[in-house]
Amino acid sequence: MLAISLALNGIVLGSVLLLFSLGLTLIYGVGRIVNFAHGALFSIGAMLGVWLAGQGLPMWLTLIVTPVVVGLIGAMLDWAILARIRDRPIVDSMLLTFGLALFITGILYEMGGRHVQMMPIPHMLEGATTIFGFTLPVYRLFVSLLAVMLAAGLFLFLKNSDWGLRVRAANDDPEMGACLGINREMLMHSVVGVSAALAAISGVAAAPIFMAYATVGDKILILAFMTVILGGLGSLRGAVVAAYVVGLIIVFGEGYLGGQMALMLLFVLVMAMLISWPRGFFGEGRTE
Amino acid sequence: MTLQINGLSRRFGGLKAVNDVTTSIADRAIHSIIGPNGAGKTTLFNLVTGALAPDAGRISFQGQDITGWTPERLAGIGIARTFQRTSIFKDLPVVENVALSIRSRRGMNRSLMRSAATERSIDVEARDILAWVGLSSKEHIRAGSLAHGFQRALDIAIGLALKPKIILMDEPLAGMSRGDRETVATLITRLREEMGLAIVVVEHDVGMVMRLSDRITVMQHGKVIAEGPPAAVREDEAVKNAYLHGNFAA
């Protein structure tokens, strides 16, 4: 009984993690950037969402406006800051996004992020529903469905659009991407923008569950990092599977061992995984 | 026989990059491995130098089985290599590049002892090696600021400092000017004549290979299609065929 309810919650967390990790994987695949600021973008999404909702914006509009705004912020950050160190060693890009994470968190602190803010659930999505005899809050179901649909949409878009083709080309081999006549700068701006938008929408969609404050993205970032390592750095389908694995491990760990122990359990599993499968579930993670 | 390769195979996904290769490298031989692009030369090279592990087959060196050994271990028993894209310690002085290799050979990598006498003897040895490859008077220059041809010579010097019995060279002539190619070719011959090394060369430049080598192994589609002295290989039908089919970068 508990196990099934935990499993359902694990799938909810996994779905949020999926959406969030896809952004992380995308920016890594195309730009070889490990984005330590991805969690801060999640926090922006959550806080902006709460603020917009407070201004009386309906939920559906909040779910559109927030990722658009944060996506633009992301594209601008890439244009203004990340583009400055494009040709530098990978170490610099990690340091830079780490500094950005501090910077954004600082700004969110000043915008009221020191306090936990609640995001109301719209009336339509309140309450619980019963599936196969198990009750589950409607909103959690909604978040999972939204995340899965968005992820599926992203995959379709990557597969069928012109933009998707370029992203996949650059993902496989940046030099080949250049051969296809890709404007690398514009592509990077758009990828960082889309990645930021994904972080933001996971932030705002999850806000009624995780709340909103300046460092709400910290924990999800760690979970997402574990996700991309398990799935193999840069592997999109690896990230999909790993997101649910991590979601389930965390929720079951919390259910049976307590909140903080779950994180430790996950870390130990990731370390064990690295010993035997250093390149992730599908063996397509990058090793250089 | 210095190096013996038996039934060596390695696949990448569905592709048999190296497929059941058997060959041997004799003492004091200059032995070249040539073949069209994608023939598996580089994979074979990486298998022998420990950069990759083989799926099947054995490699032995002076009677000792070294299959699957790591590069660190191979360096320790006298197997040195050079790199296609010259690989040196660019930000360190030239002499330190070689000194690192000497210290490593002497098993000092984990030493916390600093002995002036030892360092002096290392310095002397390093300068000798540098002089031998034609880099005397450049000892204190930052390695990265050496001219291209000199960097290749330094790459060889780093390998030589291991006092190897065999040195494997990955396209030593690639990307070199005509003059530099001659210099490196001379160096390769001297490695055998003066140092008594066995040398394995993976090379695209077929003309130079014919001139330098005692023995040539020709690969195509992961397999050995011909092997023998240059004159015999030149006349081999299978080799001519491979040439005709285009992608020899001669």
Binding site: L263, M271 | L92
Partner: protein, 337 residues
């Protein structure tokens, strides 16, 4: 960064760089000023305490540069070992012994052994995975404080660390503490500088510069990286232990990723791999942090902004800037003469 490395390597080669003497002189003057600080600030005990914090920061900065500056491995969770040391020493002093000569070795040993076990897996990963895992590790340690909150005090932190003794004598005065910390800093600095001249230190630099080549000349890069990781963790835990004993209490904040960010900032600010630079980075940062955060709440914005700015405009840090300025001046002088 490259400039700094070049500077270093010239010294390595034993070449007589003409610029060496004024540099050494400046260092000696600064060292003497540091050692005699308690005499200069007799009227404001607070300044001495602030300086003591700066010295602790310098030790932990040095510990990170032992790893990053020597092997190129970037740790985004170095606070893990600093915090480990602080909590381990705090718990030991409360439950076991208040003798510093017992606490410090035990703490460092515990940290080193833990680092050895975890590092054995971490250092075998590529740099990016290593960086991510270090951040995760610090979050795990942070979580541990709350798992065992009955022992560690959880959110409130570990309080009531007793006044400690050295050789049975109590160490309580700010001056005594300052000299103790300063002594440890000087000893660690000497150790780090010495390491750089040993075969091990040079092999580290080879790994940092070209790991692949290093492997092919027979350097066991995994083992050497692990040694650096353990040294680094050990020294960081020493800094943490000194901090808690000096401060009398510690909060889980020392394990937060902001703290890791600060430690990284000391090193980046001072210049990665310069050994001396991070010490100045730590001192400058600690003083600035104190004064700026007394004026504004928004310290994190300035901190993050500065971090980003340094990476973009001066990746070699202060030392890098100073080094290249000096090189330019020296070059100018030479061409003129």
């Amino acid at each position: 960064m490259t400039d700094a490395v070049v500077l270093q390597s010239k010294n390595l080669a034993g070449e007589r760089a003409p610029s060496r003497r004024p540099y050494l002189l400046a260092m000696i003057i600064l060292a003497v000023l540091g050692a005699t600080l308690p005499f200069w600030v007799t009227n404001s005990p607070f300044l001495l305490i602030l300086a003591s914090h700066a010295v602790v920061a310098a030790i932990v900065a040095l510990s990170l540069d032992l790893l990053t500056g020597n092997t190129g491995l970037l740790s985004f969770g170095h606070a893990a070992w600093y915090g480990f040391g602080a909590y381990a020493a705090g718990l030991l002093s409360k439950n076991f012994s208040s003798e510093i000569l017992v606490i410090l070795p035990l703490t460092v040993m515990a940290a080193s052994l833990t680092a050895l076990a975890i590092g054995a897996i971490l250092v075998r990963q590529i740099g990016k995975t290593f960086a991510i895992l270090t951040l995760a590790l610090s979050q795990i340690f942070y979580a541990l404080v709350f798992v065992f909150s009955d022992r560690t005090g959880g959110e409130d932190g570990l309080q009531g660390v007793p006044i400690i003794t050295a050789f049975g004598q109590t160490v309580a005065s700010p001056e005594a503490w300052y000299w103790l910390l300063y002594g440890v800093l000087v000893a660690s600095l000497a150790g780090a500088l010495y390491l750089r001249t040993t075969p091990l230190g040079r092999a580290w630099l080879a790994i940092k510069e070209n790991t692949e080549r290093a492997r092919f000349i027979g350097i066991n890069t995994g083992a050497l990286k692990l040694i650096a990781y353990v040294f680094s963790a050990g020294l960081a835990s020493l800094a943490g232990a000194l901090f808690v004993l000096f401060n009398g209490a510690v909060s889980p904040d020392v394990l937060h990723w902001f703290e890791s960010g600060k430690i990284l900032m000391y090193v980046v600010l001072g210049g990665v791999g310069t050994i001396v630079g991070p010490i100045f980075g730590a001192a400058a940062f600690t003083l600035t942090e104190h004064y700026v955060s007394s004026v504004t709440d928004a310290w994190l914005i300035y901190f993050g902004g500065l971090f980003v700015l340094i990476i973009i405009v001066a990746p070699g840090g202060l030392f890098g800037i100073a080094g290249s300025l000096y090189a330019r001046l020296a070059a100018g002088r030479e061409t003129r003469s």
